[in-house]
Structure formats: C-alpha cells, structure tokens
C-alpha cells in the first residue's frame, strides 16, 4: 500500500496580506519528522520521502501527499466546514421564536414600547460577501473567534472576525513538470475543505531534492462603511516546497522492518 504523508500549511493571513508574501509568516509541517524532514514550523519545508525500494530490495510503490492549508486566525479545521451555516441557522431560529413571542404578546399588550423592547432583542447574523476569482460572489455569515455569529448591528472589527481559511488552488513547479509528482484535487466525504482536498502521488524511484509550488488563495477582509456589507477580496499567493526523495528503504512502523505481512502477535 502507498505510504501517506500529510503536509500542513498554517498561514498568518493578516501578516501575509500586509507583506504581500507568504515568506516569514507561513508555518509548514509534515508527519515524516522521524524520517528526516527539515524546516518544520518554517516556510522552507523539505519533506523526507523514503522508498525507492523495500527492505527486501524490491521496487517500492508510489507515495501519496495530502495537502491541508489553514490560517492561524481561522476557526479550527476540525469544525465542520459549513459551521457558519449551522450557527447562522441557530440564530435565525432564535429570531423566529422571538418574533413569534412578539406576535403573541402584541395581541395582549397595549404598550407599543413592549413590542419595541422585544424587537430590540432580535439578532441577525452579519453577512459578508466572498468574491471569487471567477467574479462570482458567495454569501458568508461572519463568525468571531469563538464560533459565534457576529451581530449585524455591531461594526465588525477585523481582528475579532475569524479569518477565512486559505484555499489551495493548485500545485505546479519542477516536480510536476518532470512528472515526479502527479497532483489532483479529490472529492472526500469529509467536509473539511468543503469536501475537496489536494493530493499528489510521488514517483519514489527518483532520488533527488525536487521543488514544487503551491498556489494559495487568501482573502482580505474589507469593511467599507460605503458598502452594504463587508466583503472578502481574493489575493493569490504562492509558496515553494521541496521533496527530498531518498533511496532509504520504506519502513514498517509496527515492526521496524520492511513492509508486507505483519508478524502474528499474541492474542489479546
């Protein structure tokens, strides 16, 4: 079976947008640290890839890379990607219930002031517009850093709004051009990244340090009082990464030896 390697890219989006570059404000990781990856926690990740051959000398299978990008100020990726819809829906249900209470109260209440007070407690989520590079726009309910909808009657402060996570839009560069990695976007039943993620298969029989370029889309939050609602402008940036493909054998994490059948263990 192919070996899987996760490459995690965490971006300080505000710093990157200020600098116009991902350099110095991007922290990259993979889970091959024990196999010799260097540059963990920096923007210069060199991922160690073993496996030109197996422990027994036979040709190894391909390696698989899975890319995940997120922002330091984005909500955790373990939350469902449609979490904002869920929270906005809860707020709308509360609003409906408050409206029903007002309607019920209006029949009994003689005081208009009572109705005004009740209406003042109705909250609606602050919506924003995400501008896609294609020119299309999608609606996004703003959440704060605690996952709560930002109220439409409050002026959203950039630092108190959870940033949209960066989106990977492609993988190019030397390793792709030379046919060392074959990147593609795959659908996944996991809703992280809206059910899509970038993955690449690696030809492991090509020992050398190869470079690749990740294309990322960041979003700048713009709260212009002249606009009807805040908006997110797309900002494309690139990040270079490297793969260090070595002729060291793949190793089975359970046995420390080559891959293949596992030894028959004790019965538990």
């Amino acid at each position: 079976m192919a070996q899987q390697l996760g490459i995690v890219i965490i971006i300080d989006v505000e710093a990157a947008l200020r600098a116009g570059s991902l350099e110095g404000c991007t922290y990259c990781f993979d889970n091959a640290g024990p196999f010799g990856t260097t540059g963990m926690g920096t923007d210069k990740l060199v991922s160690a890839i073993r496996g030109t051959y197996w422990q027994d000398g036979s040709q190894a299978s391909e390696h698989v890379l899975n890319f995940v990008a997120t922002g330091v100020s984005s909500l955790p990726i373990t939350l469902p990607r449609d979490y904002q819809h869920h929270r906005a829906r809860l707020l709308e249900l509360a609003t409906l219930s408050a409206a029903r209470a007002v309607a019920g109260g209006a029949a009994r209440s003689k005081a208009v002031a009572d109705i005004r007070t009740a209406l003042a407690h109705i909250k609606v989520p602050q919506l924003s517009t995400i501008k896609l590079p294609s020119g299309h726009q999608i609606e996004h309910a703003l959440l704060n850093h605690f996952g709560e909808p930002v109220s439409a009657d409050a002026t959203p402060d950039t630092s108190r709004v959870a940033q949209l996570p960066p989106v990977i839009t492609g993988v190019t560069g030397e390793a792709v051009e030379k046919g060392i990695i074959f990147p593609a976007q795959y659908g996944s039943p996991d809703l992280v990244n809206g059910g899509w993620y970038w993955s690449a298969t690696v030809a492991t029989a090509t020992p050398k340090v190869w470079s690749y370029t990740l294309h990322l889309l960041l979003h700048r939050f713009i709260n212009d009082p002249a606009s009807p609602e805040p908006r997110w402008e797309p900002v494309p940036l690139t990040l270079d990464g490297k793969l260090n493909i070595t002729s060291k054998p793949m190793r089975n994490g359970f046995t420390g030896g080559g891959t293949g059948f596992l030894p028959i263990g004790m019965s538990y």
Partner: protein, 139 residues
C-alpha cells in the same frame, strides 16, 4: 492601546508523540501576533507579547486529521493569566481562553499545555524548561 484577541495554534504530531512516548519534538506553536512583537513563531518556545486585558485563544491541531488531539489544560501563573475552557457550540471541539490580568512587563511567564492524544486515557504535557511563554510589550 485597546485589548486584543490573539489566536494561538498548538500543532501536535500525535502519532510521533505516541510512538516516542514524549511530546519533545512533536509540538509547535504559532500566534496571530507576529506583527505585535511575538517571537519564536513555529517552535515550541513561542513567546507571545501581550498587554493587560488581552484575550488569548488557544486551539490545537493534529498533523494527521485522523488522530485525536485536544488541550486538556493550560498551566500558567493565574496572577498573570486566567484560563477557562470553552466549546464551539454544537460540537465537542474546544478552545482555551486566557484573560491577561496583569501586564508581564519584562517578565517572561512560561506556560505548559496538557493534551489528550489519540485513545490514551491520561493527559500528557511538555517537559521543561523549553516552554512557551507570554511576556509584555505588545505593540
């Protein structure tokens, strides 16, 4: 200078930590405050600059999306920072909120992060002295 909300992400290599039976070499931290003077970004000794009244929000992330990681506790001098656990409503994903009670000034106030990892029953923490910290002087 108004109080800020600063995000701190704690990355854990759960499989690496469980295999090696130590968090050494398997934890990295970064915050949203590099432009405010924080240093050692992307290492386990992140030093976040703060001011009195700031709110720190810690979340964790596993390098493997299949591996479970959660922050079980943040251990810090309560004279400087008061911490509480919160949950993103409707989920079991937690965050830790720290309220800065006192500006550390030139003092470096270290803290430890206790994790629940994988299916391990107990919590594990980092071993000193190379710990993350807060200090004064946020700009």
């Amino acid at each position: 200078m108004s109080a800020n909300q600063l995000r701190i992400v704690v990355v854990v290599d759960v499989v690496g930590a469980v295999a090696a039976e130590t968090l050494d070499g398997s934890v990295w931290l970064m915050d949203s405050n590099k432009s405010g003077g924080s240093t050692n970004e992307g290492t386990r000794q992140l030093q976040t600059t703060v001011r009195k009244g700031d709110q720190l929000i810690w979340t964790t992330m596993s390098l493997e999306c299949e591996a479970f990681a959660a922050i079980d506790a943040i251990e810090i001098d309560p004279a400087y920072c008061e911490v509480t656990r919160g949950v993103y409503e409707g989920t079991d994903i937690s965050y830790w909120l720290g309220k800065v009670k006192k500006d550390p000034g030139d003092a470096v106030v270290p803290y430890n992060v206790h994790f629940k990892l994988g299916s391990r029953p107990g919590a594990v923490s980092m071993s000193g002295p190379n710990l993350p910290a807060i200090t004064g002087g946020r700009t």
